[in-house]
Amino acid sequence: MIKLALPTGDLRTPVAELLSSVGLQVEGYGEGSRQYRLNSLSHEDVRVRVFRERDIPIQVALGNYDIGVTSLSWITEMNARFPQQPLIPLADLQLGQTILFAAVAPTSSSVGQGSRPDRGGSGNTLAALPTPVRIVSEYPNIAEAFARAARLPRYRIQAVAGAAEAYPPEDADLVILAAPDEATIQTHGLQPVLRLLDNSAWLVANAASLANKDLTAVLTRIREASTPSTSGALHLPTPIAITKSNGRAERMTDTLRLAVPDGHQQRHVYGALAKAGITFDGYEEKIFVRRPHSGIAGLDVKVIRPQDMPQLVALGEFDVAITGLDLLSEHLFAFPTSPAHAALDLQVSQYNLSAVVDGELPADNLADAVAYWHRDGKRPLIVASEFAATADHYSRSRHFWRYQVMPIAGASEGFVPEDADILIEGTETGRTIAENNLKIIDTIYRSTTCLIARKDAQLQGRRHSVYNELFGLLQRSVA
């Protein structure tokens, strides 16, 4: 049997069309479908699983799947950190084409008018960045490779779940992000300085599967659709010789900085703010701009991904943020001494974080489940979760003998039982869990939406009064 991993998200429709055009129809894989496990109509020996794009290189490298289709940027992201992985990019499918750029805010004194992103130089731009260089990206491993190739004397990587373009200049000095072209980067108020990767959907295979299995039923057909392409190589900067430390512009100290979320939490947070009588121009139930107008003197608001807020509050980049307790807990499990803490429970978007297992497992509690899994020896347990640090802490504190945490980006219900033993997952009514033939075996904690802040913050003057006003309005709304 050939196991094929296909992408969900933006690539789903074009990949479905490509497969169909080469006679490799997959039932239920197409626009609007939410099924995770599928069969090929044309090849009964082909089993298909749908993943988030960034999970596919991991699944193929692990050997759980023989072949995958995903963006080259995610393959490169994995190879940048784990070059030894048995992951072989085979062909460019010329779908979902974007470019991975390194970009800076044009206010940087080093960026000349009309400068073009190049393939290797950009040394002057990088040498003029403040120290330590704050690099933000959805691709932290590529960002790390970038910083090392440039020989930056001091840097820190802010790994974000999205909205990287919103960070410079206040919250980052350099951003690594994908965009269709330079013009799109410029619409974000950024200046591209280096073109790192020509990105598109690629066919990728597990090395052992290539060596030992007949994959031609799939490879031949998909290869038909591929065209000769660029090499797929990552272009990194040449080393720069920094001879001095560059200072950073002082931040305004009398303005409170608030982060509010986009994504599925947006409507809940909008509702909680509205209930407290707070509205921002440019942040509504379903639409937003990255920098809404607060209408309150001394309050700056930015819209970013909720996953990234605890770290930014801990760093002092934002004074307060509204995000999930699940995401704050994830941050604290990774960094137990972080000063980020929940200052106020807004009592919206509540759910349980649970340990979920196969519905057929002959166990009703965790102890019995572990005993069952270990009945033939202490094999490693695979724990899949979007909350990797939480899953690691859970597995460690429950004294699993040997375990592997599989960080995943989404489409999580499809992982158990084929690819993982346990899923650490948010559950509300339990209906989705039951529909996927899974069951909850342990409830870890109840998550809610919180106002988070630094517990050691010492706000002064107007910043302090704006915080008190914001906190008071929200507190009264939930009292």
Partner: protein, 401 residues
């Protein structure tokens, strides 16, 4: 075969391994202390940024470091398991010994670097850093120190000398930008000599550069030949060859045999002056050199410095196993439930007071001394057993044997 629970690339050190390890360590400590050096130890975890600047580790080395976000690393700034000891020692000197103009420091500690497959990822080093001393005295002193350590371990080292300034002068002369020079130099550090072909193409009359520098020659005579051929093409090469010649001449004067191997620099960008490698047979057992730019890069002072490290893991298998055997007196107690065990321990204490190595056993087995019903039956060196009831008599018998 059952899968090992030991992590890949890690090594268990068994009693024999530890005996050799300690022998190397003690010999090295003795030599280093004898030359006026003081012992230090740096932390296992350091900031990654100490190692990322140009002029520290090569990119190929950086690709093999174990870096991670610490439990308080929410800033995104990584830490690293010590991949090298020189840079941390320079940091220690810059931060903790800021009042000193110079320091002679040594250490015995591990470094961790990723290696492919089952190759060892943890290595142990005996290292020396001579900070604030000047060329060529420091370079020669370190070579003598390394040589004495190896000789006292019964190993006859072969020494090879080089200088990174030779390659740097060629890259500079080829008209390359500072960035391109660094990139090409890193390739040479990784063992790729192709950049020298690029240099040859850019320098008229330099067609012999790669072949000339790939040779290994004997001492001062070879350096003089290189200078004669290369100086007209690259006048800047005279300076590094001159530094190398000064060290070589001093070693020649002391009768210390050595070879010149111009391209022997590997993995470390921080070397700026003469470097040396020590071999036993074909096995490289250590090396070091001058790194005058590192103290100012890590700290704020501009001080010359040099150092070396001996590779314990490479040296240990070369040692004579017989030298590790030490006499241990086994005191055996056939009936551990009674007073005999207390007697056995009383004898052990008495023997330890005269520095004798002892081992107390009980139950089935045998020993040089067997305790039976309060009496000691002593059979040393395969001789006939003698019965003693007095502990002092046993101690005297053991001491005589």
């Amino acid at each position: 075969m059952t899968e090992s629970m030991r992590s890949k690339g890690m090594r268990d050190m068994l009693p024999n391994d530890m005996a050799r390890f300690r022998r190397i360590e003690l010999t090295f400590r003795d030599v280093a202390l004898g030359w006026g050096y003081e012992e230090v130890r740096t932390p296992t975890i350091e900031h990654l940024y100490l190692f990322t600047s140009a002029g520290t580790l090569s990119p190929q080395m950086l690709d093999r470091v174990y870096s991670f976000l610490d439990w308080d690393g929410w800033s995104g700034e990584r830490v690293v398991l010590r991949p090298d000891s020189t840079i941390p020692t320079v940091r220690l000197f810059s931060e903790q010994m800021s009042d000193a103009d110079s320091a002679r420091l040594f250490y015995v500690q591990n470094v961790l670097r990723f290696e492919q497959g089952d190759a060892e990822r943890e290595g142990w080093q005996c290292g020396v850093e001579l900070l604030g001393d000047t060329y060529p005295r420091g370079d020669v002193e370190l070579i003598l120190l390394a040589r004495e350590t190896l000789q006292r371990l019964g190993l006859g080292p072969r020494l090879k000398l080089s200088h990174p300034g030779i390659v740097r002068a060629l890259l500079d002369k080829a008209g390359l930008s500072l960035e391109d020079q660094l990139a090409l130099y890193d390739r040479v550090l990784a063992g790729d000599l192709a950049p020298l072909d690029e240099v040859e193409a850019k320098l008229p009359g330099s067609a012999s550069v790669r072949s000339l520098l790939s040779m290994e020659g004997q001492g001062l005579a070879y350096i003089q030949n290189l200078t004669t051929v290369l100086e007209p093409i690259v006048p800047e090469i005279a300076a590094p060859l001159g530094e190398l010649a000064a060290v070589s001449a001093m070693l020649d004067g002391m009768g210390v045999a050595h070879e010149i191997s111009p391209l022997l620099v590997r993995s470390f960008e921080y070397y700026t002056g003469p470097v040396f490698h020590a071999f036993v047979g074909d096995i490289k057992v250590g090396g070091g050199g001058r790194y005058d730019g590192l103290v100012s890069l890590v700290g704020s002072r501009d001080l010359p410095a040099s150092g070396f490290a001996l590779d314990i893991d490479a040296i240990a298998p070369l040692l004579d196993a017989a030298a590790e055997d030490a006499r241990v007196i086994t005191i055996h107690c056939e009936s551990p439930a009674g007073d005999d065990l207390a007697q056995a321990f009383a004898l052990a204490i008495a023997l330890r007071q005269v520095q004798t190595l002892v081992r107390v056993t009980a139950g089935a087995g045998r020993g040089e001394v067997v305790v039976i019903e309060g009496a000691f039956h002593v059979a040393l060196n395969g001789g006939k057993p003698e019965r003693h009831t007095d502990i002092d008599a046993v101690v005297r018998a053991v001491s005589r044997s």
